[in-house]
Subunit: 301 residues, 2 copies
DNA sequence: GGATCCCGATAGGTGGCGCCTATCGATATC
DNA sequence: GATATCGATAGGCGCCACCTATCGGGATCC
């Protein structure tokens, strides 16, 4: 049985006339007669009483009409829904963001994203790199914003902007007197985030260290880390976009003597069909941050 | 778009694997790949993300699945309903019966009909011949029980049984003393039903008359007519099946000297597809009344 | 790191079937 | 009895769903 057959059935039932129903369906009358006949054979039920002036639906036919209508309507709904989903820049877009980036980047880009991609329903999801990649591969996220450079054959992505690291010092710290700070100078009393944060590894690498101050002091969030620095527990490296939050916490910020930082990328599955949406989101973020990166570079210079 | 396409869509979405979905659908994997691809082109939407270990439904696809399921389910409902309607001796059967027959015949045949045709939902409808034929031609009735012999090219039917007329007399009437009564003897003071009842015309014809006693006295129902006879207003001819009701009303019944009566037929539209049901109903009624007719004939003889 | 396996896509060929036009048979109308 | 209308039938054509065979890519395994 076919949707076409059901449409023919509905047409004849409505018009009670094969010729007119055929015209309404855009086919010839013999076509309709044959198809209805086949449908009757298939169903084992006589659908129409021919011979009078009209082709009257039988009682059995009337009992089938509602189901037939429902089937045709549902099929139409598939088409209509598909039409509304056709725009790749529309629909839900679940974007994973690492915790050391999300609170500082998202406020900057929500506005431009809404403006540039009004039909895209952005759903941010905050987690650490490994968890984000797991969710991405499980199709629970559409794309992720990462600060690491690893590449995988099943994933692809593009760099969006470079985010410089800055030295974060307690106001009374000796290094706070300098214009710029060398990473190695921070190594002595640097504080880092807890395991799993990519920023932790990057900060340690920048300082040429592999271990940091006492494990008990490892902060589980950047906010906590900033509060610890402000309280004089030690120093740290923070990503540039967190500068505002750091200053609010009463921390002294100093550029590094040689540019050091991380590159933020947007990453999606290699076969992700909504790739245009991922690229568009990346483009909007990159454009919004272009000026920021340049001005920061200028300040550091 | 086709129901088959939707089934394929559902299969791939369920198995998340083209090969297994193909096996489940009973087609080859290339067939499924091509058809899904065509569906994607038609809808303008990518339905599955290929390339990983699994073929994962996209977000757009998931939004279509419910509609697709509804369409397939409705189509299945058409088939299932048709299967249950396949028996021509099942379903609603609207049977028109004339008023001078219905109250006396139906109690006799309801039982046998329920027993012989348990799946047939009999819906009796009582009205005069002309109205019944109108409703029959308008497909508002499936068959009618008539006492007239007219035939029409768009109708057909079979005789079921012959119903003798009997003379109905007030107890004190002079003719009540006789064993049998001649129709012509009744002519003097015969009462008849109102216009539209076929029994009216048949009674008048049997007596060789075309007019009857005063128009004001024309009874609108056989019950009223019997009451009028019992009250001494006059005589009448009644159909044999009403004998019981007549005697209950205190009327004297006498056979006619020469057999006179009417033939009850069941009539349906010439193109009525449920003809087997009409014939079966007729058969049950005829069989139930066979003994009656013979015994009546024996009584009259 | 080459061989192997698994996945979905592609190519080429074939049969079924839905569609057409032309025509018929039956029925209703004048 | 001639005409018009309706649905059924006949014959032919072209599309398309289906098959088998094969390909290309990616993961896995000695």
């Amino acid at each position: 049985m076919n949707l076409r057959d059901l449409r023919y059935l509905l047409a004849v039932a409505e018009h009670e006339h094969f010729g007119r129903a055929a015209r309404a369906c855009g086919v010839s009358q013999p076509t309709l007669s044959v198809q209805i006949r086949k449908l009757e054979d298939l169903l084992g039920v006589v659908l129409f009483e021919r011979g009078g002036k009209v082709a009257a639906p039988t009682a059995a036919c009337r009992q089938l009409l509602d189901h037939a209508r429902a089937a045709v309507a549902a099929a139409e709904a598939v088409l209509a829904t598909a039409r509304s989903l056709r725009d790749p820049l529309a629909g839900r877009f679940r974007l994973g963001v690492i915790p050391t980036l999300a609170p500082y980047l998202l406020p900057l880009v929500f506005g431009p994203l809404r403006e540039a991609l009004p039909a895209l329903e952005l759903e941010p999801w905050e987690d650490q790199t490994a968890a984000l990649l797991e969710r991405l591969r499980a199709h629970e996220l559409d794309a992720v914003l990462l600060a690491t450079d690893e590449t995988a054959p099943d994933l692809m992505g593009v760099p969006l902007f470079a985010e410089p690291f800055m030295a974060a010092l307690p106001p009374e710290h000796p290094l706070a007197a300098r214009e710029a700070v060398a990473e190695t100078d921070l190594a002595r009393d640097i504080l880092v985030l807890s395991d799993g944060h990519c920023l932790r590894d990057q900060a340690l690498e920048a300082c040429g260290q592999t271990t940091a101050l006492g494990a008990a002091l490892r902060a589980s969030s950047l906010t906590t880390l900033l509060n610890m620095v402000a309280a004089g527990y030690g120093t740290t490296l923070i990503p540039g976009l967190a500068a505002g939050a750091a200053q609010d916490a009463g921390i002294v910020l100093r550029p590094l003597t040689t540019w050091t930082g991380r590159t933020i990328r947007i990453v999606w599955r290699a076969h992700f069909p909504q790739r245009p949406a991922a690229e568009a989101v990346g483009e909007v973020i990159a454009r919004r941050l272009r000026g920021y990166t340049e001005s920061t570079a200028a300040t550091a210079a």
